[in-house]
């Protein structure tokens, strides 16, 4: 095959006669360019995370200062703070909307829609996603879902208050179950259904693109681990979102068509008998968690991919055990479909069934450990470059381990009986699903920012932001494990009615102040973003001296991504190859770049 320098201009140029659209609308708003769509998703997630964070601020305020008078807040939020004190319904609505916004419009939107859209076609040497129009549609559908969810704040009764899991029967009954369970809950379900459709369109595109649009020489086993991660995520989304969509349809029918899929007979809520024929609330839990557990991996698997990529780049070493990493990521995805029952140990489940779910759950520890050990193996003996992206990735590994260890407690039925629905669970899933995924996003942002915007981010500011955030999130979520062991139930508006929770008050205050400081520190990121976007030093094509194809084109890349379609001759992580002239060999370097006999 070809041994010529793939950097030289070739006859392939003829295929690049397509000019970028010139109108502002076609170029930046209704764009079919995967790079623009990725950045749109990224900004949507940024907007959503601001809202979600503001809600968590209010939640933490209440938990540290229960029933405190806040006259200033009454002026801003007269309904939620009637009389200056936060209403219990308002608190529950904040918890519900915080979870929903974060899980769907941040943790699912940014890692997959944002970074995946931006980087996947670049990394496999394609000009775009397989179906550019569908891709544009998936973004706009997702945005519509977000707007519908936001509308729930403004309808009569306000936002729903049944938690992000929307457990039936409370979610199926209407306003009798609470003010936000009327119109707000309907909007919540519709928003999630719309979101499912957007995600499915995106996942379809990711899968077909990965299978069909890899450039010449880009075999599956030469794909960067990020691509494997997005591919796995897309498969998870493809198989789990339809189930959530279906559950949402049933719930809407129960609420609006008088069916009884989830509402048991003879239910009396607030003294009002409910007119239903006898459905099963547990059915909702099965359907919801069949989606809900893969969703955890939809959030975190792209972060694993980014971490693998970034650790290898900045350790200047090939990823340790590439093949094992691919298998592990698939194993995690596959096992993730058979563990939903561990969310339901206390639902009256048959103990034998529970043991099976427990064993499968614990077995996820094996591929997870493989990944962790391989990350450490990648770092071992490397020439580490502590860039900000590297620090966030190291933070990801740390959080993945500490969050994962909590999962080993909760995965055992006997321990879960005690810890279920306590703050232990809140601490656990925030560490592993929330914060670890967010760290993956920050790592990805600092790593790909030069490619996305053509400028470098400010490293010292990024490091200060990282340090405060790392210490902050541990200060927030580790004490929650202690609260859980203390027996502190989650979701409660206040613990002051329970004598044994008196000792929790100080911890709540500590957590709240740690949260306030961590939230405040995110301002550093916003400043860094705005400054770097406008004033940051111009980025070269390959500022990190990385190997994958997105660094083989200018920063930011041209409309068609590459001046000519790249031809791949090397594996994704050929760093510090003995005898090579540089300490990295790019994937599209000619075969002669590797010393004779080197296997790629």
């Amino acid at each position: 095959m070809s041994v010529a320098d793939p950097h030289s201009p070739g006859p392939a140029g003829h295929a690049h006669a397509h000019a970028a659209p010139t109108s502002f609308l076609a170029r930046y708003v209704f764009s079919k360019d995967h790079k623009v769509i990725g950045i749109q998703y990224w900004f949507l997630a940024l907007a959503a995370v601001m809202v979600g964070m503001a809600l968590s601020f209010l939640v933490r305020l209440q938990l540290a200062y229960p029933s405190h008078m806040f006259p200033a807040l009454e002026k801003i939020l007269p309904i939620g703070f009637a009389g200056g004190v936060m209403a219990p319904e308002f608190y529950l609505a904040m918890v519900t909307m915080h979870g929903t916004i974060m899980v769907f419009f941040v943790l699912t939107t940014a890692p997959m829609g944002g970074f995946g859209n931006f980087a996947l076609p670049l990394q496999i040497g394609a000009r775009d996603m397989a179906f550019p129009t569908l891709n544009m549609l998936s973004y706009w559908v997702t945005l519509l879902g977000f707007l519908v969810l936001m509308a729930a704040f403004f309808v009569e009764g306000g936002a729903p208050l049944g938690g992000w899991t929307g457990y039936a029967p409370l979610s199926a009954l209407g306003t009798v179950a609470g003010p936000g369970q009327g119109a707000g809950m309907n909007l919540w379900i519709i928003s999630i259904a719309i979101f499912c459709v957007g995600s499915l369109l995106g996942a379809l595109n990711f899968i077909v693109t990965t299978l069909g649009l890899r450039t010449q020489g880009m075999t599956l086993m030469r794909m960067p681990l990020t691509c494997w991660a997005w591919f796995t995520t897309a498969v998870l989304a493809l198989l789990s979102f339809p189930v959530l969509f279906g559950a949402g349809v049933l719930l809407l029918l129960d609420r609006n068509a008088g069916t009884s899929f989830f509402v048991p007979a003879g239910l009396v809520i607030s003294g009002v008998p409910v007119d239903h024929k006898g459905g099963s609330p547990i059915l909702w839990q099965h359907l919801f968690w069949f989606f809900g557990h893969p969703e955890v991996y939809i959030a975190i698997v792209p972060g694993m991919g980014a971490t693998s990529q970034i650790l290898s780049t900045f350790a200047r070493k090939p990823i340790f055990g590439y093949r094992a990493m691919v298998i592990a990521i698939f194993a995690i995805g596959l096992l993730g479909f058979f563990v939903w029952g561990h969310h339901m140990f206390l639902s009256g489940m048959n103990p034998t069934t529970a043991i099976v779910f427990s064993l499968v759950t614990l077995s996820i520890g094996i591929p997870s450990a493989i990944k962790t050990v391989n990350w450490l193996g990648t770092l071992w003996g490397g020439k580490l470059r502590f860039t900000t992206a590297m620090l966030w990735s190291l933070g990801f590994v740390s959080l993945f381990v500490s969050g994962g260890l909590g999962g080993i407690f909760l995965g055992q039925t006997s321990v879960d009986l005690y810890l279920h629905d306590t703050y232990f669970v809140v601490g656990h899933f925030h560490l592993i699903m929330g914060v670890a995924a967010i760290f993956g996003m920050f790592a990805g942002t600092f790593y790909w920012f030069p490619k996305m915007f053509g400028r470098m981010m400010n490293e010292p500011l990024g490091k200060v932001h990282f340090l405060i955030t790392l210490l902050g999130v541990y200060a927030i979520f580790m004490p929650m494990h202690v609260l859980g062991i203390l027996g502190h139930p989650r979701r409660y508006y206040t613990g002051t009615n329970y004598e044994y929770l008196g000792q929790a008050a100080e911890l709540h205050t500590l957590i709240t102040w740690a949260a306030f400081i961590t939230i405040g520190a995110q301002l550093l990121f916003v400043i860094n973003l705005l400054w770097s976007w406008t004033r940051g030093p111009k980025a070269t094509a390959n500022p990190w001296e990385a190997t994958t194809l997105e660094w083989a084109t200018s920063s930011p890349p041209p409309y068609e991504n590459f001046d000519q379609d790249p031809v791949v001759h090397h594996g994704p992580y050929e760093y510090s190859v003995p005898g090579a002239p540089r300490d990295y060999i790019m994937q599209n370097d000619p075969p002669s770049a590797a010393p004779h006999g080197h296997r790629s």
């Binding site: 095959m1 070809s2 010529a4 320098d5 030289s8 070739g10 006859p11 392939a12 295929a15 397509h18 079919k32 360019d33 394609a126 000009r127 775009d128 996603m129 397989a130 179906f131 550019p132 129009t133 569908l134 379809l204 899968i207 077909v208 299978l211 069909g212 649009l213 890899r214 010449q216 880009m218 075999t219 599956l220 030469r222 493809l238 198989l239 789990s240 339809p242 189930v243 279906g246 559950a247 349809v249 049933l250 029918l253 068509a257 008088g258 069916t259 009884s260 899929f261 007979a265 024929k277 006898g278 459905g279 099963s280 059915l283 099965h286 359907l287 069949f290 068609e560 379609d565 031809v567």
Partner: protein
């Protein structure tokens, strides 16, 4: 070899018919898609290049890409119905308040109509490959039969309603309306899609010819037929 010859190999218009190496050109012979790309009538109508964003499909073989996308798209639809069907099984297992839905005989006719529509579509698909001039007639017939099925389903619902069986009458009736309704909505989507294929030159994407479009639509249509057979048997035998 020079890079130019390497590239030209990639963009050459390829002959119609299997086998093609382009599906997974980097791992030739391995990892084939669910449908061998470029089956009868497949191939790359645009003939060259990976396309640009003005096209609906990128890639050197848009027909294979579209067919793969259709196969992949069936997975979430199957998952949706599996979720509904497992809910059906769970609810029926609970027993409480379960009243079997009276069986509308009309469903037999509807089922036959849908099965025949698959045959006429298959006739259209083969005709398109062979260059048969009556393709549009067969497509029209398929659309009419598909429309007839949906109208027949609506008639069956009305029949049930006149017998006082509505969506909220009993858990069994809720599931009956849910499963038949969800299928009808999906088939209605198929009618829209196939309608677009029937008037293809008007809405056609540059890189997808009508034979390819019919082939891709047929994947969906036949799947809807098989899915209905499954639902039909489930609702009839296990109520």
């Amino acid at each position: 070899m020079t890079p130019s010859s390497t590239y030209e190999v990639k963009v050459q218009p390829r002959p119609i018919g299997p086998p093609k190496e382009s599906w997974d050109r980097t791992t030739a012979g391995r990892g084939r898609g669910p449908e061998g790309p470029g089956g009868p009538g497949g191939g790359d109508p645009g003939g060259s290049g990976p396309g640009d964003r003005g096209d609906a499909v990128l890639g050197p073989d848009p027909g294979a890409m579209a067919a793969t996308a259709m196969w992949v798209a069936l997975a979430p639809i199957l998952m949706l119905f599996m979720a509904f069907v497992s809910a059906y099984a769970v609810r029926m297992g609970l027993g409480e308040g379960w009243v079997s839905v009276p069986w509308p005989r009309l469903l037999w006719i509807n089922t036959a109509v849908l099965m025949v529509s698959s045959l006429t579509l298959e006739r259209a698909r083969r005709g398109a490959v062979a260059g048969d001039a009556r393709v549009r007639t067969w497509l029209g017939l398929t659309l009419a039969l598909g429309g007839g099925f949906v109208l027949g389903q609506i008639a069956a619902w009305r029949l049930l309603l006149t017998h006082g069986v509505g969506i909220s009458t009993s858990p069994a009736s809720s599931f009956f309306y849910l499963l038949t309704g969800a299928h009808a909505v999906h088939l209605a989507g198929g009618i829209l899609g196939l309608g677009a294929v029937a008037v293809w030159p008007a809405v056609g994407f540059r890189r997808i010819t009508r034979p390819v479009a019919i082939r891709v639509a047929a994947i969906y249509w036949h799947f809807m037929g098989v899915l209905w057979l499954g639902l039909f048997l489930l609702l009839m035998l296990w109520r």
